[in-house]
């Protein structure tokens, strides 16, 4: 479809870190009435980066996006785009004066305009010829050749998404914002469109800030993710870093399934309901006597049959998700953990079992 267009290869992290900051939030807050929606948020995004704000609904991520687009005004703090202050320090720039594109959650296509007219909507400053050319380019890039004269009503979900993306990209904004871009598509189309959108955005080397509650989407598409909770950023980093060493319990439990195993440092080991671990098994082990919770993902735990005296818990549930089983085991101290098993069912609910930590990486922990 777009073979004639240059395709940028995925950028290396080091290179990305050297690029200039395109977009910056500095201590930004926004309240609705007494409710803080965004609370003292600071963040910077570099040119060409794909940055995702990830969090549960109501965490303030969409508000952050609206503040970036200029659709809402921050109560406090400064927003800078391309080095210029667009909000804060007593100034405010309207959306049309910001170099920002926005793809709306349900696309917000203009129902009274054709596909081509929708895409051309932000191009009123171009000459007619140039405009037609740009529209044609965008149609090609988004795989919509021949759709220009159609109305937007008859389009499928994926096609609407392509039009929305083409429309926001056509004026060549410095930053494009995606608001839950795939939430209106069915699951199968979602995976396909993720790849497609990533490809299109790479071609144009555009800086992206995306907002989603879908962790798989965030982890698979982004250069960096920021986890938001109650209007604050809990952690920012590359996907695998955030996933493997979450800074807070919230981040740990929001990303993937997480169990927390209580423990206490005694000498050079940690006493837990799963037996004694070496302190070196933990990331940055704390001093002796500290009580802590150790993050255990289902794949960090293994269940096995054992003689009764050796068992430390009882199977209380199991969840079949296709390739794997997740067993829910209630340990003898009452802690409930999820353990992953990739065989056919071997354990029955109610059966006594032994759970061991079987991680090949240092474990994250949180003070009690």
């Amino acid at each position: 479809m777009s073979n004639e267009l240059p395709i940028d290869l995925p950028t290396g992290r080091e290179e990305l870190a050297e690029r200039e900051t395109v977009l910056e939030l500095d201590g930004v807050s926004k309240r609705y009435g007494d409710l803080p929606a965004v609370d003292d948020l600071s963040l910077s995004v570099r040119r060409g980066e794909f940055f995702t704000l990830l969090g549960p609904s109501g965490c303030g991520k969409t508000t952050t996006l609206r503040l970036l687009a200029g659709l809402d005004r921050p109560d406090d703090g400064v927003v800078r785009i391309g080095g210029e202050t667009v909000a804060g320090e007593g100034s405010f720039r309207d959306p049309e004066e910001r170099d920002v594109g926005l793809v709306f959650q349900d696309f917000a296509l203009f129902p009274h305009l054709s596909v081509a007219e929708n895409i051309a909507f932000g191009l009123q400053d171009l000459q007619a010829e140039e405009r037609a050319e740009r529209v044609e380019d965008m149609l090609t890039l988004t795989g919509l050749q021949g759709y220009g004269d159609r109305g937007v009503d008859g389009l499928s979900g994926g096609e609407r998404q392509r039009v929305a993306l083409a429309r926001s990209l056509a004026p060549r904004p410095a930053v494009v914002l995606l608001d839950e871009p795939f939430s209106n598509l069915d699951v199968r189309l979602r995976v396909e469109m993720r790849e497609e959108v990533r490809r299109i955005l790479r071609v144009l080397r555009v800086t992206v800030v995306s907002v989603t509650h879908d962790q798989e989407e965030a982890l698979s598409m982004s250069d960096r993710v920021g986890i938001m909770h109650d209007g604050r950023l809990e952690q920012v980093g590359p996907p695998e870093e955030v996933f493997e060493s979450p800074d807070t319990r919230f981040v740990a439990s929001f990303l993937g399934q997480a169990s927390f195993v209580p423990g206490r440092i005694e000498g050079d080991g940690v006493d837990t309901p799963l037996g004694r671990l070496a302190t070196d098994d933990l990331i940055d082990p704390p001093e002796a006597g500290t009580r802590l919770s150790i993050l255990a993902r289902p794949d960090d735990l293994a269940v096995r049959v054992a003689d009764i005296p050796e068992t430390n818990g009882q199977v209380t549930g199991r969840q079949y998700t296709g390739p794997i089983f997740i067993y829910e085991v209630e340990l003898d101290d009452g802690t409930v953990v999820g353990c992953q098993h990739n065989h056919v069912a071997e354990y029955e609910v109610g059966e006594r079992v032994r759970v061991d930590i079987d991680a090949r990486h240092p474990l994250a922990w949180y003070p009690e």
Binding site: E96, F104, S168
Partner: protein, 541 residues
Amino acid sequence: MASGDGLGALVGRGDGHDGTARSPAGLTLVGALVAAAVLFPATWLVLRVVGIPLDRTIDLLTSPTMAEVLANSVALVAVVTLASALVGVPLAFLTARTDLPGRRVVTVLVALPLVVPSYIGAFAFVSAFGPRGEFADALAPLGVESIPSIYGLLGTALVLTLFTYPYVFLTTRAALLGFDARLVEAARTLNHSRWGAFRRVTLPQIAPGIAAGSLLVALYTLSDFGTPAIMGLDVFTRVIYVEYNAFGRDFAALLSLQLLAVTAVILAIESRLSRDASAYGGSGRRSGSRMRLGAWTFPALAYVCVIALLGLVLPIGILLVWLQRGSPAFAGGGFEFSWVVGWHSVYVSVLAAGVATLGAVPVAYLAARYRSTLTTLIDRATYVGFAFPGVVLGLALVYFGSAYAPALYQTIPLLVFAYVVRFLPQSVGSIRSSVLQVDPKLSEAARTLGRTPTEAFRSVTLPLIAPGVIAGAALVFLTTMKELPATLLLRPTGFDTLVTYIWRVQDAGYYGQAAVPALALVAISGLSMLVIVGREPNDVE
């Protein structure tokens, strides 16, 4: 239905996607009868005109009066429609899309002039601004010798605009509330200023709403009898009535038919305008942020106040002045007001509401549940009342009654029939939208639980559509209370209603006598507003 296969075949298939959508023959027959009854006066009028000798028809059609009447009517409709849009659209935008303080109150306030029947507004304005009126009297000591005449085109246009712009206000406001404000945000992120976004996104999408309201204004203006009659503007309705009373019946019939033709032209223009625009049902889930008025807040509020003052405070204030001055100077002349008159109004209005509801239920149910060419035709036929000016309808039935059914002429049944023809669309519309909101699966569920179609209708559908049925009946009741021209033409001799009473006393110049019934009518109209507002989804914010 098992019976009546012959008629069932006539009815044709339903809308394809479910094979059961074939309209029941009995119901279809009833609907067709209702439609035929409603169409009857129009066909009668046509036959009456065809009966006029050709050379006389040509004489009348080419008479200077005819040309003048047409010109006056078209000018009045154009001015009132344009002025209503200019007043109504900004008000709708202010209340629906900006941070205007007190916008809830303002919404009610600027919609309220609709409750003042325009002929009462016309009395009030004539009384206030006419020669030796309240204002002329008040201004005389200040050295103001004369104020511009309230009679004629400008006065009529002013009064009609003040009491009909709420149609444009309400439909535009509904369009703005249903409009997905994120589209404006999308336009803003695509480098459009506020005004650019309004012009290229908002306006094209609320245009059908503006057009719908303007159509109502145009139809109302064209069919209104009281206002031009009081303010002395020779438009169709006034001349038809005058000619009828002067026994120029051929001319009256011809004018009536021409008035229907002009109405048809307006309807055709509207349907062309709204043809491509019908499907923009915006999701309107999130209203987006409101526009800040800033320094414009005060001028906006001042504008609202001026409109409310002219459309609401002034007419009601004048009525209250009349009420207070109910002294001998204003009373008398054998026009003693009696509440029997009020009872007469209620009596005919209840009858009209009941009959209209009985006729509307089958039509609305057919149109909503069994869509086919025939059911759509039946549904549309009932809308003829919208296009039928009361004076024309009255006249058609007068011709019919006096020539062929003297037993019916000037009787309550014929009067009620006229009301039903005129106001059936309100009932059909209200019931149809209720039926559309009821999931057809519910009556299917009742069928699987052993109910016959009729039982299913009675036990499931009817209770669910009851609010719509009642609202439709209430609307018919309330508009019948206010109806003037058909009542004047068709009422039994000596049978006065609130409206005809007001008409007679104002005609004789005893304004003081009109205060009580006029205030009663305003209150009744206020109730009809409540019904309309109650039917609107709760989307004020």
